[in-house]
Symmetry: C2
Subunit: 233 residues, 2 copies
Amino acid sequence: MQALHCQTCPTRRLCLGADLDQPALASLSQCVQPSAPVQRGEFLYRAGDPADDCFVVRSGAYKTVVTSNDGQEHVGGFHFPGEIMGLSGQATGRYRDSAVALETSTACRTSLAELPQLWRVGSGPALLRLLGSNDWTGAEGHANLSRTAADARLAGYLVGLSRRLSGRAPDHLPMPMSRTDLANHLGMTLESLSRVIGRLTRDGTITPARTAITVNDPERLQRLAGHLDQESA
Amino acid sequence: MQALHCQTCPTRRLCLGADLDQPALASLSQCVQPSAPVQRGEFLYRAGDPADDCFVVRSGAYKTVVTSNDGQEHVGGFHFPGEIMGLSGQATGRYRDSAVALETSTACRTSLAELPQLWRVGSGPALLRLLGSNDWTGAEGHANLSRTAADARLAGYLVGLSRRLSGRAPDHLPMPMSRTDLANHLGMTLESLSRVIGRLTRDGTITPARTAITVNDPERLQRLAGHLDQESA
DNA sequence: CGGCATTTTGAGAAGCATCAACTATTGTGG
DNA sequence: CCACAATAGTTGATGCTTCTCAAAATGCCG
């Protein structure tokens, strides 16, 4: 039943309903509309669309893309279940980036204009958490890209991804994106990325597969990344 | 008088009080505490502090800094009047970055836990705008760092800064940070930054001064940056 | 099995990092 | 007010990493 989708949602614990009991989940379901599945390569929303809502990934994975005026595409990030998208549009009223499904995926839509209602049902803390972790694109991602060494960038991305997915298997990282997209996101060429992966595979740090990467030596990876250790909780 | 600080605030139009009338500004003043001036080099907040509040710059400028576990410092961004800081802490309850004043600066403190009150006084849209523009660190900043050419990175930063400061003189960009900090932020060495500035100065694109940079040729700068043109409003 | 897209590997050139010396600016005390 | 010291920034030469261009190999789909 439609009104109960939050109660049956497999990613509920990562989302706005994290700390809610059954009745509250029912209320939350009123504020949040699940959207139809989006096929691989299809858009969840497009840059330029009126941005009334923001989205939380429910299943699958998305990439966000911005296009510069000279036609160059840039992959802003990859988004997995429980992560928020579409905030960029809240400033101007129109999305600045587009969200593209990397596989058949779903997302839930909610209007930030009804934000006080989210508060009322008890999702305030969870929302703040989502807003704050969105910052991984900011703080962590920025620190990552500022590293000049290509190895450190990939390592940093993998460490960060592992942290974001904590709860699921932290050593088995889903990689639904193409090498081209990942290289673009990491600010390097596809060839460089291939070489880095090759190096890390040869020395046994990781084992790449088609749609995933297995991390064999997390500590080495972390050392490579010189990464922020924000185990503060 | 304390309770009226929002009404007398010079950066009111850039902040939560953007669209409010006098009575509403008075209510807003109740939700927002101005903090004492912070001297150059002093901290507004530190990584690890309990993160109950977030901040909006009122005057001056700040940098945000994250420290990796190997002791390396990374400058996450520079923040000017009307910009928001401290969101990163909302996820974990503790700030992940530290805010350092680049000159004698002030900021206003507000608790996101009282967010519904901000809504009630009519600051909702302005808050969303702040949250969304914070994304410049995400979308724009990320796209910027992913460019590999050092020239493009500086150009991109200057173009973005100019946009952020629109309203003030868009050709006269304040540069209260050290070259070291800017280079760090842009992910290049201090020497490279110096050379880039030299090149752009020599060809007449910019004119650097001690605490500011004058942009002589914005179009050339934008072309160099290959930058996102998000004039959507 | 054949054709297309994606990924890997290779050789050469360009750009940045590194190390080092020099110049300019700020701040302090005489 | 000037001289000096300390900091911040510029300029120069060299080596390494990545980008660029090009070709081969792998995987995917009809």
